[in-house]
Symmetry: C2
Subunit: 378 residues, 2 copies
């Protein structure tokens, strides 16, 4: 439906993902579309029992258990449970909307990591916030005082970042939090992809709390497991945050489905066994498929050699991503142009594509072979 | 968690509903918490098969089938499928948020039905819109020209209304749409409770389209069936609406879970058999329980004799709802004060309570007996 009127240059990334939804060769969206593992299939086989459990158990218990299982899997030994408990949302983007609506009651500007997925700048701008780009290199190394501009009310960082996979280390997070504390700026993190990268499985909340800064973290169970988008976004924040987050949350929802909470707990428990390691091996093999299939294409390179997240950028070696995207489209293959990730300067992204890795390897291989053919012809 | 800091006078309705979530005697929220029927239980027993179907079938097909089954159940033979297809949202409140964010790009004021559930005014105000109250009596009878103020960009009507149950007839909707067309004002409807009332099972979209007005309708599958809040909100709008609805939708979501779409289709099919009539009989019996249990309490009356929705207002006959609510709270019984529904003049609601009817009759009876005891003591 979108297709008939869509123009690549003005479409946002989600609209481009929507085009791909019904294609066999969809390597566009970052949702988890791999096959269920055996352990996961056993959970699905027991859905009727899970439904019954979720119907009778108090929702506070289901929520507590889901949070604990998920957070422990992410290396989060601590998380808010007191007067400002973690809020379960329908999705991380709903958490993002609630945060944006809360921020705009107290500030008019946010410093936002650049590049990042475009729905983050679009939601922030959509509620009326002005954005200041925060480049990845100065964010990760060097003097931090200039990274936090004086005239913003919030610093927003995606870690691991999408699409680059760059991870904020524990030490750097502590420095950034201290700087935000000094300047009384809210530090907001989107950690939706952290499940893929053990380097981000440290206790972010302990670091943030120790700094004394005002902080918010958005987490997401939706990127990891092929649960057909049965997922929750989590919205955690410090007691001192000074934003009307719980009130705006209650304008939007009473709570998420207890069935989904029970499902998240079960998938997190399965992952805490061998499941997460198996998933990491699966994504590593996906990445190897992309890199080896394209290895001999002149000019092509991979700008994120250390990335472990479930998406991979491909530098097209001077080819324009609009041309490559259109040629792929003709072959029913859908990837994302990187243009829109560079929300502050789209030209920086117009020579690369993003490939989603959380796909069955046969589909991924077929899609990347088509990409190879297109690149060799351009 | 909310409880520790909550004050009845400043809490919104959702916060009060949250207090009730873990109580056996929760007659607060309007979610469907009755037992599964036999037909519904058979669907739940087959969830693993449904998951498999949803995993392999194209999501466009699942969405089309879910929309068709649900709309036909509601008496909607027509609905948008062309360049402005119905958008599936995580919940009706997410559809509401998307509509509010779209409206504020084009107007600064909305005329809103009064009373109605407070998250509607809160979301509209939260994005910066000014509200003008639209009282139910002039909305439903008499000269419409004064009902549509000259300085608003949208008229928002909940039909059937929550908590009053009042339904906009086909004829009145046509008149209202014509008036909105004349004044070039968007006509927005929230029909989340229409499933309970066959008097609203006429083709709203055909009436709206015939008028030529700019219109938006929010529908909800979440009030009807005890699916543990596995639900979708639907956002339908006219091609001429002139609001950036699909763009803001794509900022918030790519789509809802295909599993939930498949589930909605199955529950709607079950309801199209005998399920919906059985549900209506169930709610009528719930209403009879409330009315007969309280029949001999001095001063108590039921201001909405014709209501068929799954909530019932109780006029406390001069008792203050804050006092009754607090006394119920001490007995672990949770209802909603009507104060907050009267968003433009809370004093109009401070002598009535709202009781949720979509509960197992044993729980409902127990809760209403407690209410009876409280009322007799006050």
């Amino acid at each position: 439906m979108i297709e008939s009127t869509l123009r690549l240059s003005t479409a946002n990334l989600t609209e481009l993902e929507h085009l791909a939804l019904n294609s066999e060769l969809n390597v566009a969206d970052g949702h988890a579309r791999q096959q269920l593992s055996e352990g996961q299939q056993r959970i699905i086989d027991e859905l009727p029992t899970l439904f019954e459990k979720a119907a009778v158990q108090p929702v506070a218990d289901l929520e507590r258990d889901a949070h604990r299982a998920f957070f422990h899997l992410m290396g989060q030994q601590s998380y808010p449970i007191g007067p400002n408990p973690v809020l379960s949302c329908y999705a991380s983007s709903v958490a993002m909307e609630i945060l944006a609506r809360s921020l705009v009651t107290k500030t008019d500007a946010v410093a936002l990591i650049h590049p990042t997925f475009d729905n983050i700048p679009d939601i922030l701008r959509g509620v009326g916030l002005r954005l200041v780009p925060l480049e990845e290199d100065p964010l990760h190394a060097g003097d931090l005082s200039s990274v936090v501009p004086p005239d913003v009310g919030c610093i927003f960082v995606t870690t691991p970042n999408n699409p680059t996979g760059r991870v904020l280390t524990r030490e750097r997070l502590a420095e950034l939090a201290a700087e935000c504390r000094r300047k009384d700026v809210v530090l907001a993190l989107d950690t939706s992809f952290r499940g893929f990268d053990t380097r981000s499985h440290y206790d972010h909340y302990a670091v943030l709390e120790a700094s004394g800064c005002r902080w918010v973290v958005i987490e997401d169970t939706g990127k990891l497991w092929p649960t057909l988008d049965l997922k929750v976004g989590l919205l955690a924040y410090s007691e001192n945050v000074g934003l009307p987050i719980p009130k705006i949350y209650s304008d939007i929802l009473l709570g998420v489905s207890p069935f989904i909470l029970a499902l998240v707990e079960r998938f997190a428990e399965d992952a805490a066994g061998d499941g997460l390691a198996d998933l990491h091996a699966f994504v590593a093999e996906s990445r190897r498929i992309v890199r080896t299939t394209l290895a001999d294409v002149p000019g092509v390179s991979f700008p994120d050699p250390d990335s472990r997240v479930s998406v991979e950028r491909v530098d097209l070696g001077g080819r324009r991503c609009a041309d490559v995207w259109s040629a792929l489209h003709e072959r029913q293959v859908y990837a994302l142009p990187c243009t829109q990730f560079h929300w502050a300067d789209p030209s920086l992204g117009d020579r690369s594509l993003r490939i989603a890795l959380a796909r069955p390897h046969t589909s991924l291989r077929a899609a990347v072979r088509e990409l190879r053919a297109v690149l060799l012809a351009h």
